[in-house]
């Protein structure tokens, strides 16, 4: 029986090695991912539609792979397990730094002027103000994901600018909720007194009635900065044929199905290029988030 289980295990090992022997077995499927910036159910719905749209426009199989973290999205892109990704500003910068030849190709119409909202629990007594809410010092505060542009990078930048200290020294407690939906939920429940959230997620959840505005309130808006974009690998043409990157770009730029756009929510997409995100890169360097 020993021999038998050893044999079985050996068989398992042989099977383990199978994918190494024949690389890129799913060559004809174009795979993309997205940073998990909000509730997964939401994302699956949205990107399931996108996959269908791209599939019919490009005439090949297109698949969306959900991931659990921003870093996992970047890694999948780097490992060529996805060829296209919906990144945030910071994750896009990181991804393009790691994959030579990859390019930002499209962004939402308002994505060059993205904003972060600072929100607070009603019990703090904070109200909306035009200037940075210095009274949040000493409270508990939650960012979104550690790798988020609107949930981490930009709010941290403004906090440091306002107080001249790192967030850990400004607040009583600093957390990372994981995504924007969680940030809203955690501030609403009072788990944290204040937090920083992507303005689009906030607006959509307020509109859909998911936010109880008697418990959590908007207290400050950051100045605008460039954020989300579609980034494609530089070597897609080798795999999917000449001009494939242009076809994908076109498909994204001409996306006009109102239902699809509403799920993003974006009014439409415009062209983007790597240099659009230089301010994000510089800020990340300043904060020591990239070397």
């Amino acid at each position: 029986m020993m021999v038998r289980s050893v044999l079985a295990a050996a068989g398992a090992i042989a099977l383990l090695q199978a994918p190494v022997a024949k690389p890129v077995s799913a060559a004809d499927t174009f795979v993309f991912t997205a940073i998990p910036d909000q509730d997964e159910t939401q994302l699956r719905k949205r990107f399931g539609k996108v996959a269908k749209y791209l599939s019919s426009t490009l005439g090949l199989k297109v698949k969306y792979v959900p991931v659990k973290s921003y870093a996992a999205a970047v890694t999948a892109f780097r490992n060529n397990q996805v060829q296209l990704a919906w990144f945030g500003g910071l994750s896009g910068v990181r991804a393009r730094e790691l994959v030579k030849g990859s390019r930002a190709i499209a962004q939402g119409k308002k994505d060059p002027f993205f904003e972060t909202f600072f929100i607070a629990h009603k019990s703090t007594g904070l109200k909306f103000s035009k200037s940075f809410p210095k009274k949040i010092a000493g409270m508990t505060f939650t960012f979104g994901s550690k790798g988020s542009t609107s949930g981490r990078l930009m709010p941290e930048y403004h906090i440091r600018a306002a107080f001249g200290k790192v967030p850990r020294k400004v607040f009583k407690k600093v957390g990372f909720s994981g995504n924007h939906s969680r940030t809203i939920a955690l501030v609403q429940s009072g788990a944290y007194q204040a937090g920083a959230v992507n303005y689009k997620v906030w607006n959509r959840e307020v509109k859909s009635g998911k936010v109880d505005t008697s418990k959590v309130t908007l207290i400050w808006k950051t100045p605008p900065y460039p954020d989300y974009q579609w980034t494609i690998r530089g070597d897609v043409n080798k795999k999917f044929g000449k001009g494939f990157d242009k076809k994908v770009t076109n498909a994204l730029l001409t996306m006009n199905d109102p239902d699809l756009l509403k799920s993003f929510p974006r009014k439409g997409f415009i062209a983007a290029q790597n240099s659009d995100y230089a301010p994000i890169k510089n800020t990340a360097k300043k904060l020591g988030l990239i070397d």
Binding site: R4, A8, I13, T41, T75, H121, K173, A191, Y192
Partner: protein, 493 residues
């Protein structure tokens, strides 16, 4: 004047550890920070009694994957572990095994995610590698403790291989088999938890459901998980092992390719400290090290040790409360049954999931982690100690009730209980480090941040420090156990 007797070494050790834990607790960040913690708890309770088995897409598939990773990982670790166990006389092999088992499977998974992405290889190896280190040690101990008598009957000239297969192995085999079963149970738990970082197992959906507050879905997923574990002994038959293994290998999505270029780059560039990689010079490297040690490794280590000590002692106290629940010396059959059910649920729930739940309810502090570690480990040791009391014989006229517990049972189980506690000390520490991923400031927090920033040089340094810390604790625990002559043969569940 009353002359107080010298405290026993056992008493002194206990006092020391309780004292250390008390000091750690005084400085610990323990609080319930949610404004209304019971609001969410009520929703959770409602969810638990109204499980929704249809809420999750492809539940069967994720159970299949959970089992597949566990089967292949544990099978591979058995093969590797057995080979390593045979080489355990070598110091290099012993050190190697100590290092690979000192790194938690979630950390291995985070590393392999960089190498193989979401390929099944990530999940299988994340389980197989640390388990191989654990199995090597346990198998080596089993072989060492085997009865030497049959060896004396072997005629001269018998080859080493024949001697091993026909003389040493048969004796050890049943131990190997029961330990493998236990490992498989651990493997299923680990496999489920790997879903929290993105592998397609039960944890994947569990994390989503939790984060979105879909507690009926959470409840259904947890029930399925308990059922799988509780029924393991009925479907896990020796003859079926090859079927399971081939089935496991067949259902996993191996089609996901990965690039060798990236693996090479990860190993030769990414994990080299940034200043060295870019040739910024030794000064820059000095600054880098300074930052890593004083801003991350040191605070992370302090928090990890602090939490570990509190959890260890709290586990001891909880064990003393829990083991009577299943002890025939103290309770009747009916009440023991509910005790068993409670202990099964508490010990089958990975501490990672427990901590995750409590963090959602109470907000971030060390409290959720302390409670999670204490419940999970207290239930495991409580189960073992409770079982141990089944073999104990009391005098006919032994006292009853609380007196029986305090003067008859507890003194007799105290030594084995301490042995188990010290044995689990290192396991608690490994788990403590991992809970950092959930946001508690242990070493895992900094490791997770490094991975989030795609700074693998930092991640590897911190993981290495975590491993060293585990090896140190293991060494201290071994010396305490041998000084107090605590038997650890009970340790296998």
């Amino acid at each position: 004047m009353i002359v107080r007797p010298e405290p026993s070494p056992l008493g002194r050790t206990t006092t020391t550890f309780v004292g250390i834990a008390f000091i750690c607790f005084v400085f610990a960040d323990v609080a319930i920070t949610t404004v209304d913690p019971w609001q969410e708890f009520k929703l959770l309770l409602v969810g638990i009694v109204t499980p929704d088995f249809y809420a999750t897409d492809s539940v069967a598939q994720s159970i299949g994957y959970t089992l597949a990773f566990a089967f292949l990982g544990v099978a591979l670790s058995n093969v590797l572990g057995l080979v390593l166990a045979l080489l355990f006389f070598s110091r290099i092999v012993r050190t190697f095994c100590a290092v690979i088992r000192a790194v938690h499977e979630l950390f291995w998974a985070l590393i392999f995610l960089q190498l193989f992405g979401l390929s099944p290889l990530t999940g299988v190896l994340a389980i197989a590698i640390p388990y191989a280190g654990i199995i090597a040690k346990v198998y080596a101990e089993i072989l060492e403790e085997a009865d030497p008598a049959p060896l004396k009957t072997v005629p001269g000239g018998t080859s080493l291989l024949s001697t091993f297969i026909f003389v040493r192995l048969p004796d050890a085999w049943s131990h190997f088999r029961s330990y493998s079963m236990y490992r498989l149970e651990c493997g299923i738990r680990s496999s489920a938890v790997l879903g929290f970082i993105g592998l397609p197992t039960l944890g994947f959906h569990l994390e989503t459901a939790f984060k979105e507050g879909q507690y009926s879905e959470v409840s259904a997923l947890l029930i399925l998980f308990y059922v799988v574990i509780a029924t393991m002994r009925t479907w896990m038959r020796r003859q079926l092992i090859p079927v399971y293994l081939i089935g496991a290998a067949a259902i996993l999505p191996w089609g996901i390719s990965f690039s060798f270029e990236n693996i090479v780059r990860f190993l030769t560039e990414d994990i080299v400290p940034h200043p060295l990689r870019t040739g910024a010079g030794m000064d820059a490297f000095g600054d880098w090290l300074h930052l890593m040690v004083f801003e991350q490794a040191l605070p992370g280590t302090i928090a990890t040790v602090q939490l570990t000590m509190i959890a260890l002692v709290a586990t001891g106290f909880l064990t003393m409360v829990l083991f009577p629940l299943i002890s025939p010396l103290l309770f009747g059959k009916a009440s023991r049954l509910s005790g068993h059910i409670f202990l099964v649920v508490a010990r089958s729930t990975p501490e990672y999931i427990l901590a995750f739940i409590l963090l959602q309810l109470w907000g971030p502090s060390m409290l959720p982690a302390i409670i999670a570690l204490t419940i999970h480990n207290g239930a495991i040791i409580g189960h073992l100690v409770g079982r141990y009391t089944e073999t104990m014989k009391l005098r006919q006229d032994a006292s009853k009730g609380i007196n029986r517990y305090a003067y008859e049972v507890l003194p007799r189980v105290y030594r084995p209980m301490l042995a188990l506690l010290f044995y689990r000390w290192e396991i608690i520490m490994r788990e403590t480090a991992i809970l950092g991923i959930l946001g508690i400031a242990t070493l895992g927090f900094y490791v997770d941040s490094a991975f989030a920033d795609l700074r693998f040089d930092r991640a590897m340094l911190l993981i290495a420090i975590t491993a060293m810390l585990n090896i140190c604790v293991d060494a201290i625990s071994r010396s305490v156990r041998s000084r107090l002559r605590l038997q650890t043969s009970l340790k296998q569940q």
